[in-house]
Symmetry: D3
Subunit: 136 residues, 6 copies
């Protein structure tokens, strides 16, 4: 009934998600540095065991999923402070089947980012969302 992307989005929005077959990690990061967003997501996912810490394979999958999610957040250029904007983001990383009822497609990862982007001044910002999905 649930798909991995929807679970990631609802979770990052703080909506209830039924107990399910997915592993979920959440966190938040505010930064003018894109690399800090990437690092925050990777650190959380490794700490909670969604990807193995000692192999490149899972990190490669997660890295590309995070970059894809950042395309939705940045909408054209993967840049924050270097073009004078800052982001305050919540993130959710989800591991599991692509769809709860399609286990035959193996293990996948979804990264959802949601929050605000704008000038480095309180309230001068609007919402953004991004989702990246990759096979694990």
């Amino acid at each position: 009934m649930h798909s991995i992307g929807k679970v990631a989005i609802l979770t990052v929005l703080g909506q209830p998600v039924p107990d399910d077959v997915f592993q979920v990690v959440t966190g938040q990061v505010g930064s003018m540095s894109v690399e800090k967003v990437v690092a925050a997501v990777e650190t959380a996912a490794k700490r909670e065991g969604l990807i193995a810490a000692d192999h490149y394979r899972g990190e490669h999958a997660l890295y590309h999923a995070v970059l894809e999610a950042l395309h939705g957040v940045c909408r054209g250029q993967l840049e924050l402070g270097s073009i004078l904007r800052t982001a305050g983001l919540k993130f959710a990383v989800v591991a599991g089947p692509r769809d709860a009822d399609r286990p035959e497609e193996g293990h996948w990862l979804a990264v959802a980012l949601y929050g605000y982007i704008g000038a480095p001044r309180r309230g001068f910002e609007h919402e953004v969302i991004g989702l990246g999905i990759n096979h694990l």
Copy 2:
């Protein structure tokens, strides 16, 4: 309590959104042509009166919001069929204040797109989301 982007995202996901100060239009479009996605969203928004049909100003605001939402969907290149992929999308267009409790910032537009992207073959696809926000 509600912000325009969250209203757009929850609506496009089919989640309940409390009655509110926002005007909302929804629809869906499946296509290998990016321009058909843009056209479907614009047509719906004009038909329901979210933007004026006889002035460029509102269309300009909506056009850029749709393109920004498409960045989240396409993650790098605003292309579908031309790079051999197709998308089946639901959309929600929302007009109103940027945040329900910040009327002093005037009128804004949010466009949320959610659905599946993939090869032109049933089931060979994964989820995508995009959100574009613009002042009206």
Copy 3:
């Protein structure tokens, strides 16, 4: 007779522009940091009252106009020093109707950037121009 973009371009090139319905601000900025170009334009436009300093709305309009102008300057990547190049730019920000004879389309902003881009070495550079236009 005049359109907002042409007024911005002629002004940034130092050409005479007939007294008109437009508000115009000019300045210059040399930098290897894209964010300094954005900041210089925003600071000048606020100081001269082309956009309100205490609301996000006008800053949002100007920010996207500056980024669009930077696309013409950077031609592919909104980066300067990070890809080993520097820019010396004049800028003009213009507020007013989109065309002098189309007041019914409301208030718009145009940002023109003109100058030189190149290696961080005197004379190793060529000209660039960029124009961004947004509804205010």
Copy 4:
């Protein structure tokens, strides 16, 4: 006193440019196809002898100059009709020294594009400019 880029921009805007050391070709093209813009510029430049018709070298220089100019026009994606927009453009191609007083840097090309971009509906558009410069 004159630089190749400024000559191209003033020419495309219909401003007077003093008789000079530069070779200049102008034309116009309206299209939803980026390739038609490229073709119109190349055809005019070859017909007037700004680049040789029987060697690739000059065409390579011009092609990249046109693409760079199109970045200013398109601001993010080199696409027109495929993202539901159309452009009506004037163009100027200029060949000569990079600056009138720097002949030691050899022969260069400048391509300026100026006009309107927008929805495929009269008046639903705003101005754009682009400039590409390349060594010949």
Copy 5:
């Protein structure tokens, strides 16, 4: 001693590659349509069994690898005919370990593209290469 990317590049260049642990498929495709390049590579890889034909997972891995290789070929915009250029390409798809001596990182895919890009006129072209690598 061999890495998957080097095997793909040497193969696409027609260089000898020692018998090895890798599965290799080659082909060629000339087109003004990016989607035909993608399709040619996918068809060959499926026909030779480098990815399963009945699951999305392998196609997803290959699709992203092809797009990454196309970035090297297209250098900025994943477009061919739409910006008035054509490509004549050879391709090699390789499946196996990331490095012949690192089997613990699992199965990977490499796609190499090599050939000529240029105007739709014989000889008006120059060489291009691209490589995309993904975990399978």
Copy 6:
């Protein structure tokens, strides 16, 4: 028999290339800064006389060739450390005819980059290649 791009690629891969009409320079650079890659290539090419050190023309040709090669390496965003990745690259710069048997097309430059890109952690990386070609 040889083309400038193939000579650059084979050289950067450490393959034997027959004595020929081309001038070749090689080197290596590891960095999280794109500008250091550009600088390393430019410095080597000037030191060995492939481009003149006292004119902009050759540097302009080389600069754009390096950026084009970096598109193959970066596959979407010309960024390294700013998106939390690092690259260890070998480079080859080649000057000469576009093809050994087409001297009538004049002098060209090719820049090939080959190496590994990945997380800033040993072994967490995969191969990349890039090639940029420009008329000199």
